[in-house]
Amino acid sequence: MSPREITSEKLLQMYGRMFRIRQVEERLATVQAAGELPGPVHLYIGEEAIAVGVCAHLSDQDWICSTHRGHGHFLAKSDEIQKMVAEVYGRATGVCGGKGGSMHVADVSKGILGANGIVGGGIALAAGAALSAQTRGTRNVAVVFFGDGAANQGVLFEALNIAALWRLPLILVCENNGYSEFSPTASVTSGEIWNRATPFGVPGRPVDGNDVREVWAAAGEAIERARSGGGATLLEMRTYRLRGHVEAEKSFLSRSYRSDAEVEQRREREPLRLAMAALQGAGVTADAIAKVEEKERAAVRAAFEYAAESPWPAPGAAFEHMFA
C-alpha cells in the first residue's frame, strides 16, 4: 500500500479522529491538573497518528490490545467517548463501570481488549487473540500497541517466535516515542527495534509514526498480509511524546530528563500539524476542516459533561465481576 492511495475523505476522517483524541487528552490534562480525576493519566498527545492510522483498517471483529497510554487506541476504535471519559472519572457509567480507570479502558464489543498497566502485558494477549482468530478460521487479526520500553520485555520475543512458527495474524505496533518512562530510549534499548523481528523471519520496519498517511499505508499492508495468512509484522512507529510520561510528573521528579527546547523542536512535526498540511495539500477546504473540528469539540465537551455528572458506582459493585 502507498500513502498516495488515501482519499481526501479518508484523510479528513482520520484527521477528525486524531483531533478528537487530542481534544480528549487536552481536556484530561486540564481536569487532572484541577484535581478532578481520581487516578493518574498517561496522555497520548503527539502519537495520535499511530492509533488512528492503524485502526482505520480494523473492524469490530479485529482485536487490539493497548498500553497504560491507551486512551488514543480506545478512541481510534470505539465511538464511546462518553463511556471512556466516564471510566477515567471512575464513574458507574464508565465503560468498565469504574473498575478499570485510565489504565484499563476497554470496549470489548468493539474489539478492544483493554489498555494494560503492565508494560508489555498486551503482547501475549494479542497473540492469543490472533491464535483464536486463526483457529476459528476467520480472517480477523489482532494488533498490539506497545512502547519502546516494552520492546525490552522478553515476552515480545516469545511472541515473535510463536507468531512466526504459527503464521499468526498478529501486528506488533511499537510506539517508539523516544522515552521509556524517564529514560531516553537509546539508554535502555540496544540496536533498532524494528530489526528485532528479523532473526525470527518476521518482517520488521521503521515507519514515520507522526504522518498518519505513512502509518495508514504501512499498517494496511501488514494487516492485509496477516488477513491473508501471511503472518505477523513488527512496525516500529517513530513518534514523540509531547507531554510528560504521566501528568503532574513535575510535582514528584527532582530533576528534568529532557529540555523544553527538545519538546518544542519535536512539536514541528507533530501529527495533527502534519495531517493538516496534508489536508491542505489535498485541497480540503479550511471550512470543511473547521466543521469536523467543531463537531469533535462538541462531542468531547459533551462527554466530559456527561462524565462529570455521572454517578459514582455503588460500593457493592466492588464485589462483583471477579467470576463469571
Partner: protein, 328 residues
Amino acid sequence: MAKKRMVQAINEAITEEMERDGSIIVLGEDVHISPVGDTRGLIERFGAARVRNTPISESVMSGMAVGAAATGSRVICHLFYGNFIYTGFDAIANQAAKLRYMLGGQVKLPILYMAMIGGGRSVAAQHSDSMHPMLMNLGGIKIVMPASPGDAKGLVKAALRDDNPVFLLQAAGRGGELGEVPDGDYTIPLGKAEEKRVGDDVTVVAIGSMVKPALKACDELAARGISVSLIDPRTVVPMDYDAILASVARTGRLVVVDEARKSCSAASEIAATVAERGFHLLKAPIGRVAVEDVAMPYSPVLEKAVIPDAARIVDAVLKIAVSRGVAQ
C-alpha cells in the same frame, strides 16, 4: 465404570469435552507427544490447529491463553510442572486473575491451566512446589485438586464448562494409581467437598495429594478408637466451608493437612476461617500438618522428612484428641 489412572481420567475428560465443544484448543510444551500422558492422542484426534505444541515460552503461552479465551476460544494451557507457572506468572496474576474484573465484567475467561505439583519423586526444589496457596490469594482463579481418578474426570469436565480461569493441580506423584472412573458425561460441581470418611471425634481436612496419607491415618486412628471425619475439599477455590464447618460442628476438633509450605497455606486459610466462623464449635487447638517453610530437597530421606505422611497426621490428631481424653 472402569479402573483408570489419574492421567487417563484427565485425558478422557479432555477428549470428551473437546468432542463436545469445538471451541476448545490446547496449548503446551510437547502436548502432542504428552510425556505426562494427559494430552495423549489429542493431536491425532483433533488436529494440529486445535492442539498446539508450544515453544518453551511460558510468559507468552500463559498470556495467549488469556487473549484467546477472551476472544472466543476455550483454552487448555498445559504448564507441565507447577513451578513453571512462575515463569509465566504475570499473565496469571496480573491478567487472568484480574482482566474480567478490571473490565467490569466485559469478558469471560474460560481457561483450564494444568500443572503437576508436589514432591515425593526426588525432582527437587524447582519441580516440587505446591503453589495453590498463592493462586488462592489471587482471588480470580478457581482451583481444582483431585485426589482420585474419578474426581479428576468429574472436576476437569466441570472446569471445561466453567467460564473462568481454573487451575487443575495434579499431584505429580499420583499419576500411576488406579481408581474407578465413571464413563461418559460425569461432572462434579466446583466447590463441593466430599466426606471420605464419616466420624465424630476429629475432623481432618486433607488437600489433593494429602488425601491418601490421610486415609491411611484414618485407619490407624480407627484402630486406636478415634473416628475421623475426613473431608476432601476437591476444589480449594471455591472452598466448601459449609461441609468443613458442618463436620467441625460434630467433632469440635480440626486438623488440616496440606502439602504446601505452611506459611499462608491452604491449611492456614482453613484454620483461620474455622477459628473465625466456627470458634465456638472448637474444643481443641486447630492442628496443621504441612511442609515446614523449606524448599523441597532432592534426597528421598530429606523429602520424607519434609512431606507430611500418615504418621504425622496421626500425631497431629492424637495431640488434639488427647486433650479430650479419647486417646491415652
